[in-house]
């Protein structure tokens, strides 16, 4: 028994050492964002702001078109998430519950999209979206990012685990294929919908390179481009940058706090179980 205590101590110490490594950068960043501009660089540095202020936030909010960036990002993230859920659920269901040679082929095609990420075909993708007339529009940001192998396979995994008998029973009762999907299968997959919703929202909220390519007019900018433009300036205004960065994170943190169980409990490696 006497060697149980050291184990506890070691494991807990190791865990909290890692927590410190992961937590301190964010904590330092948050504390810094409440320091007035003059205090940011005055040595000796203090952990807590001596004169806490929110001027960095207000300055960030007013000197950039921040509310517009917020609105744009929200439109992109919400609409992309809704479409992603619909397309992933329908496609994942078809791949799980029907057997056709072309469905198998399409499964492989979807997998291939993970191997060949969008960044690789950036310039041709840009030309296509431009030719579709979506350049400089939020629709142009949303459209190519909707299709996701992760989402499709999350649903496929889930529907594979739904017993076939349920589908057969619905068929015997004369329920049409699509109505079975909408009335029975889709409600069953609620946890997956929630998981994919928060993931997709996070991806689109944090997207940078594609919005950067497709958006040219500052009126259409998303938050990430807005923040990156402060970073890219000749002389970085750290006070504004810290404020803007922290502000841009708030919506995701709120959503995460509400939906966290769907992410943390998601068995993301469900397919690996035998």
């Amino acid at each position: 028994m006497d060697n149980l205590l050291p184990k506890k101590v070691w494991a807990t110490a190791a865990l909290w050492f890692m927590v410190a490594l992961y937590g301190i950068p964010v904590l330092w960043f948050l504390l810094s964002s409440f320091k007035p501009a003059g205090e940011l660089f005055s040595y000796p540095l203090t952990i807590f702001p001596k004169q806490p202020t929110i001027s960095g936030f207000t300055q960030a909010w007013t000197s950039f078109d921040f509310s517009r960036y917020f609105g744009n990002t929200l439109i992109v993230a919400v609409s992309a998430t809704l479409i992603t859920i619909v397309t992933s659920a329908t496609c994942g269901y078809a791949l799980a519950k029907y057997t056709n040679w072309w469905l198998r082929a399409f499964t492989i095609c979807i997998l291939a999209t993970t191997m060949l990420p969008g960044e690789v075909i950036l310039s041709p993708l840009f030309l296509i979206v431009r030719d579709l007339g979506l350049y400089n529009s939020l629709a142009g940001v949303v459209a190519p990012s909707v299709i996701t192998a992760t989402g499709t396979f999350l649903f496929r995994q889930f529907f594979l685990s739904v017993p076939r008998d349920l589908l057969d029973a619905a068929r015997i009762d004369g329920s049409g294929e699509l109505s079975t999907f909408i009335r029975i299968m889709l409600p069953l997959s609620r946890p997956i919908i929630m998981t994919l919703a928060i993931m997709s929202f996070q991806w689109r909220w944090n997207d940078y390179i594609w919005p950067l390519v497709i958006l040219n007019d500052p009126k259409e900018f998303t938050l990430q481009i807005g923040v990156a433009s402060i970073v890219g300036a000749e002389n970085v205004n750290w006070s504004v940058l810290l404020g803007a960065s922290v502000l841009s994170m708030i919506p995701l943190v709120v959503i995460y706090l509400i939906f966290q169980k769907y992410v943390m409990n998601a068995d993301l490696s469900a397919g690996l179980k035998d």
């Binding site: 056709n100 969008g118 690789v120 299709i147 699509l178 944090n206 397919g271 179980k273």
Partner: protein, 318 residues
């Protein structure tokens, strides 16, 4: 585009479907005949998006890589010229090497960090797990741009916390921004920090799925914690390890936003990675043909890495 989440699902789960079809050969054929319209309708939206935003750009991208297209006007055919130029392009060569170094550093670090975090979160001995889990997960919420800003702030040459501590301890200020290798280290740290959460979740699920009977049997044989980890946990989670390594590799090879925020590929262009190179040539200099050729070289590298890892994984299995 940037999906920092496991695309593990699925891949390994071919087995149930296959056994099911073997068990019910007659039913399967009947199904095959009866249902074509419904599944076609169900996949139609994904299929359309796949063709429009994946196949089509891939095809015209390959086409443009043989031209000197600039985004407007005609696209004069130049054959393999672009590829030959790439072979002699020092900037491209430097970006490729830098990308490979970056990936070779991030992948093992991410693997060790996320596995350690997962082991500690599953361990019956550690305390404070619920809080730790949330803190480990915070970096997932933070975009690559903001993560870059956070690490840039900490590693600032004249104002950063790290240099402040180093000086307070009697050291000399470290040129984190003006030295190319040091600034790459910051990007590596930031990338590892950012990609731990999701991989950690996958490892937690995998470790929880290892049958406890194995550990009990090992305990009876007098195995220590390390022996159990080495001989039971590691082999049992091998499939997850494979997925984590593969996805982290693919992800690191296309890093862009993080580096842009930490140092914009600087100092100068010394830390330009492949995506930055492609972005600059394609969009800043409008050499779409040339950038497409570079894209296809990147694609080739990604495919070689993926196939090599698959082959190694197969060989280990057998």
């Amino acid at each position: 585009m940037a999906e920092s989440v496991p695309q593990s699902a699925g891949r390994a789960n071919e087995t149930p479907a296959r056994t099911a079809s073997r068990r019910w050969p007659r039913r399967r054929t009947r199904r095959h005949d009866r249902y074509t319209l419904a599944p076609l309708l169900l996949i139609s939206s994904n299929l359309a998006l796949f063709l429009l935003f994946f196949v089509w750009p891939a095809v015209i991208g390959l086409g443009y890589s043989f031209t000197s297209y600039t985004g407007v006007g005609s696209a004069p055919f130049v054959g393999l010229d672009n590829y030959q130029r790439l072979l002699n392009d020092e900037a491209f060569y430097a970006a490729t090497v830098r990308t490979l170094i970056f990936t070779a550093a991030v992948v093992p670090l991410t693997y060790v960090a996320s596995l350690s975090a997962a082991v500690l979160l599953v361990s019956p001995y550690s305390r404070g797990k619920p809080v730790a889990r949330v803190i480990f997960f915070v970096p997932w919420l933070i975009s690559p741009i903001i993560a870059g800003v956070i690490w840039r702030w900490i590693f600032g040459e004249n104002f950063g916390l790290v240099n402040y501590v180093i000086i307070a301890l009697g050291g000399e200020a470290v040129p984190w921004q003006s030295n190319a290798n040091l600034s790459l280290i910051i990007v590596v740290i930031a990338a590892t920090w950012g990609s731990t959460a999701v991989n950690m979740l996958m490892f937690v699920a995998a470790i929880k799925n290892v049958p406890t009977a194995y550990y009990e049997a090992a305990s009876l044989d007098g195995a220590g914690s390390w022996a159990k980890f080495r001989h039971i946990t590691l082999p049992s989670i091998a499939p997850t390890s494979f997925i984590v390594i593969l996805l982290t590799t693919l992800h690191s090879m296309k890093e862009y936003a993080l580096i842009q925020a930490v140092n914009a590929g600087g100092p100068g262009s010394e830390n330009n990675l492949l995506i930055q190179y492609i972005f600059t040539t394609g969009f800043r200099r409008a050499q779409i043909g040339y950038a497409s050729a570079a894209s296809f070289v990147l694609m080739l590298i990604l495919m070689i890495i993926a196939i090599a890892q698959l082959v190694i994984n197969r060989r280990k299995d057998s």
